[in-house]
């Protein structure tokens, strides 16, 4: 293995322009792949944000003021299902405050309403909007609950859209990784074509197929790893420079911009994938040549 690495690095050093071209091509392929991946990750965050917006609102009967322990019991019961993203109790006083806030420009409406006239309620959002219906069923069976509401048709429509967007992003990212693989295959293939005579000579002096193949496999891995590392650096720079621009209109979505830890995970993943794609590209290209 160390001999293969030595040979691969020596070949790369001694043909610097070919190496540079090969690195440039693989870097660009991985850059687009990483950008598509980050776009898919951001799209996932945005979709998650909108998916958790719909809520089930459960209104208590107007004359019922639930005890804090009853509310806590209901919270525990709902959270125990594992379906709940957030749970909020809105007391009669809270409801009045909300009402006043909503109608602050209409004093006539404010004068006529007191806290007693408004029902206490519970607002529950789900981790997965498909579970809102189940949560609504649980709430309907609770004593003291008068009415349970959630926009079922809107949720179904939202789910359809998010599914399409998510699938298209995954397909785009996977396609780009496949394109990167084909590009590495082409790069290694052209390197092998340039080294036809060397390979023929090695075969004639008694080199085994693995002795001939390994340096190309290692070369493919190096292109994949170095290319993905440079591509990652480029994409991180793009993120750092574009963050202030995007923050202006999508700042309300929490955790949208990638953290350092997330980017390091992306780096690790990209380099592993780069090495894998490079090695596979090298194996396939050299095997095809040796067979021919």
């Amino acid at each position: 293995m160390s001999s293969a690495y030595h040979q691969a690095s020596q070949r790369m050093r001694r043909t610097p322009y070919q190496t540079l071209l090969a690195l440039l091509v693989t870097t660009l392929a991985f850059f687009v792949a990483i950008v598509f991946f980050l776009d898919a990750a951001a799209a996932h965050k945005i979709l998650r944000y909108f998916e958790t917006r719909p809520q089930v609102n459960a209104f208590y009967k107007q004359d019922v003021v639930p005890k804090p322990q009853d509310v806590d019991l209901l919270r525990t019961k709902l959270e125990g299902t594992g379906l709940v993203e957030s749970f909020k109790y809105v007391s009669k006083d809270d409801a009045l405050r909300i009402y006043k806030d909503l109608n602050k420009n209409d004093p006539l409406l404010l004068e006529a309403v007191t806290a007693n006239m408004l029902p206490a309620s519970i607002e529950v959002s789900a981790k997965n909007p498909q579970d809102l219906k189940s949560i609504a069923e649980v709430l309907k069976s609770e004593p003291g609950i008068d009415d349970v509401r959630f926009a079922e048709d809107v949720v179904q429509s939202l789910l359809g859209w998010t599914r399409s967007v998510r699938t298209s992003r995954i397909v785009l990212a996977a396609t780009q990784i496949f394109i990167a693989f084909i590009i590495i295959l082409w790069v290694i293939g052209s390197r092998i074509t340039n080294r036809r005579e060397e390979i023929s000579l090695l075969q004639l002096i008694g080199a085994t197929p693995s002795y001939i193949s390994w340096p190309f496999v290692v070369e493919g891995m190096l292109y994949g790893m170095v290319g993905s590392f440079i591509a990652w650096c480029m994409s991180y720079l793009v993120i750092l420079y574009s963050t202030p621009f995007f923050a202006g209109f999508i700042s309300e979505i929490p955790g949208l911009f990638p953290t350092v830890v997330f980017m390091l995970e992306v780096l690790g993943g990209a380099m592993c994938l780069g090495a894998l794609v490079g090695a596979l590209g090298g194996i396939l290209a050299v095997r095809r040549y040796l067979k021919s």
Binding site: Q10, T15, E198, L202, L204, I205, G206, A207, Y211
Partner: protein, 225 residues
């Protein structure tokens, strides 16, 4: 050492070798002569198992080449040293690295490689040129480097395919002298295909003459036909 028994080889409708039979003993120096297309290179390529015969039996050192499997082929080829007319030195490797190749493919240690390469380069008189690249060498030096590469693994047989074809007469003689010295000192079997009548006629060694894929003459102290 090398045994051709009724070997024939065709490329499509072209007959490259037709029922060729001869034996080369261990430690012998043999010239293969004949015009272009007479089958000299095919004889060497069959020994190297670059090609397979269509008919007949070809054995080297007692081993029937037809029975050598793909996985055994690299091991078999390590017992042979090959010298080509166009040298086939790798341009990105310096002389020492080119000469080291046969030992590297065998997985020899760096110390053994360094020692053997130094010896081989001294035998061909290129000890001072070890660090130069092929582009920096003359034609004669390139061929000497190729011979050093062929002998570095101490092969039983050296196959030389027109090693003087690209060289001036004086350099050509010096290359053949090196091959003769190796043959004498290391007791290596040498089979050399050549067009060079002067060299063949000056040495009075065994000559196998080919024409149209057939052996037309096999003389123990032959001349160029």
């Amino acid at each position: 050492m090398i045994s051709y028994r009724g070997v024939s080889k065709k490329f499509g409708t072209i007959v490259a070798l037709d029922d060729v039979s001869f034996e080369v003993d261990r430690g012998e120096f043999v010239f293969l002569t004949g015009p272009s297309g007479s089958g000299k290179t095919t004889v060497l390529k069959l020994v190297l198992r670059e090609l397979r015969p269509d008919k007949g039996v070809l054995a080297v050192d007692g081993h029937d080449l037809a029975k050598i499997s793909t996985s055994q082929l690299p091991i078999y080829r390590r017992a042979l040293g090959v010298v080509f007319q166009d040298f086939k030195l790798l341009p990105e490797r310096n002389v020492a690295e080119n000469v080291a190749l046969p030992l590297q493919v065998r997985g020899a240690s760096q110390a053994d490689i360094a020692k053997a390469v130094k010896q081989a380069l001294e035998i061909v008189g290129l000890g001072e040129r070890a660090g130069l690249f092929p582009a920096q060498l003359s034609g004669g030096e390139l061929q000497r480097a190729a011979i050093a590469r062929a002998i570095v693994g101490r092969p039983k047989v050296i196959l030389a395919d027109e090693p003087t074809g690209n060289l001036d007469p004086k350099t050509a003689k010096s290359i053949v002298k090196i091959l003769l010295d190796i043959h004498k000192e290391l007791k290596t079997t040498v089979v050399m295909a050549t067009h060079n009548a002067d060299i063949v006629n000056s040495l009075s060694l065994r000559v196998i003459s080919l024409e149209g894929g057939k052996v037309i003459k096999d003389s123990p102290r032959g001349k160029y036909e």
